[in-house]
Symmetry: C2
Subunit: 285 residues, 2 copies
DNA sequence: TCTTTCCATACCCGCACGGTATCGCTGCGC
DNA sequence: GCGCAGCGATACCGTGCGGGTATGGAAAGA
């Protein structure tokens, strides 16, 4: 079985994305002819046509589309491998936890304390990032992340549930719904909702949200409202009110890490987090 | 950022598994010196020591252990990519479904019929394999597989639940428990249980099971008993009896496929299977 | 038909990969 | 304690392949 090389996958990905050999070659910092040859050779070795070379346009074949998707996972895995190996070899081992400021449900201090009490606990480095935390995990930049189910895509990650919360509508006190004791999703028709980085949903406009303070500020300025987990209550400004959204799916705070991770430090952290979560929800350690 | 090449990962994996440069080189069909150099170069580029060269022994460093695990996922992804691409490019497109004979809960005929009624349905090729079906999926040899939760490790796979069943203890009619109307797991202490391929649990002895007929035969011969999903009832021989195991976790038959799969043929198959499963369990389509 | 565009082909070069020979260290046996 | 054997590292060399430049050739637009 002929071996598939990373270099070939990088080349193919460039061409498949650009659908143009010249531009792809430029992007790769090389000349066009060797790129053409590399792709031909790849096709020969796979015994499959990957591209349809029309006179004036290049298109992906069915097999090419498959390889493009597969290539991305291979390349992601490869760079994650490099990063994780490098981090494992660092002289100062640390556990990198990706969090969203304000998105920890108030559990984080207790979890960190519990973890530091574990034998062999490493220093924990917090990586604050409002969006893209799952990407940090998949890229091997972080060891674990606090995410929300079902908001985040958790495929390929192992998880530990920490806290399930109902959701609140957060709005300025002058908002038309501010007097209600409860709302439902239908009440929100036409309301401007925040645009989260990474999620390119239609219907949401305005600036991307990168920071909780920014979001609350924009809400106070009546530029938008937001549906947030109820643990947000402790961080609200005076000029904002929050009421339960009856039919919003409950959101679960989960600790997530790359599947197959074996580091004992991570295992200890998961144990600590599970213990803290168990106490909060009353199930005991 | 220096790029990590597949060839280097293959080399490193060989050395890390053999813990011996000479044997690794032999396994790779090459001489030892270039292998040594390649590993050194890999370490230099990563800036990390991967192996501890003792005078007489080679050992993995912490980072080396990480890279070994990561390498395996990268190499698996790469060969799966090649296989999936090749299969997508075949002139005769088919959908390959990995099944275990007798492990379909009786749903398979209906699912196949329902699928063939879908527009654009492909011929379905059944790949019978008693164990290792999940590996077939991960290796890209099959498009989908019928698996059992929680028996199989489903991380990295997307799934559709089909059928949840209680489990039965299957034994010869002369067995000491054959008269019982129900048993619990404690009753099975000391009973010889089948050794499934792939699962190397302690406590189970005797030949590996590769085939349902073989298993039932061995049970009839009083060589072992087995805990199986209740849909097995229809396939029992006269000389075997089955009684419910009260505290055995229910087992769910799931249709599983590689995450990120986008093939419309697979999507149609999942739809068909879900519809059939919905009818059986009474939830409607 | 002439031009432009863009991929393929032809040809050349340098390097890095792989091979052989050998060194150097270390642990073991006599 | 000396020699030997095992094993990884180093030295050196040849060649195949990855990449570059120049050019061909087909097709679409003017």
């Amino acid at each position: 079985m002929e071996r598939l090389e990373v270099r070939e996958l990088v080349y193919f990905t460039a061409v498949a994305e650009e659908l143009h050999f010249g531009r792809a070659a430029a992007r790769l910092g090389m000349a066009q002819p060797p790129l053409s040859r590399a792709i031909q050779q790849l096709e020969r070795r796979l015994g499959v046509a990957l591209l349809e070379r029309g006179s004036r346009r290049v298109a992906l074949t069915e097999a090419g589309a498959v390889l493009l998707r597969e290539s991305r996972t291979v390349l992601d895995a490869a760079s994650a491998a490099a990063r994780r190996t490098r981090r494992a070899g660092r002289a100062d081992p640390r556990l990198v936890l990706a969090i969203k400021p304000g998105g920890d449900g108030g559990l984080l201090p207790a979890i960190l304390d519990a973890y530091q009490a574990e034998p062999g606990a490493l220093p924990v480095e917090l990586m604050c990032s409002f969006g893209e935390r799952e990407v940090l995990l998949r890229e091997g930049r972080a060891d674990a992340a606090l995410l929300h189910r079902p908001h985040h895509d958790l495929t390929g990650l192992d998880t530990q549930d920490l806290l399930t919360e109902t959701q609140l509508l957060v709005m300025p006190s002058s908002h038309r719904l501010a007097g209600r004791t409860r709302v439902c999703l239908n009440d929100l028709a036409g309301e401007p909702l925040p645009r989260w980085p990474g999620a390119s949903e239609g219907g949401a406009h305005g600036p991307e949200i990168h920071d909780l303070g920014q979001l609350l500020h924009l809400i106070a300025l009546r530029r938008m409202v937001a549906v947030l987990p109820s643990s947000i209550r402790g961080q609200l400004r005076d000029d904002l009110v929050a009421v339960p959204v009856d039919d919003a799916e409950p959101t679960t705070l989960v600790l997530a890490w790359p599947e197959h991770a074996t580091s004992p430090a991570l295992a200890a952290f998961v144990r600590a987090a599970a213990a803290v979560a168990g106490k909060v929800t009353g199930h005991g350690g």
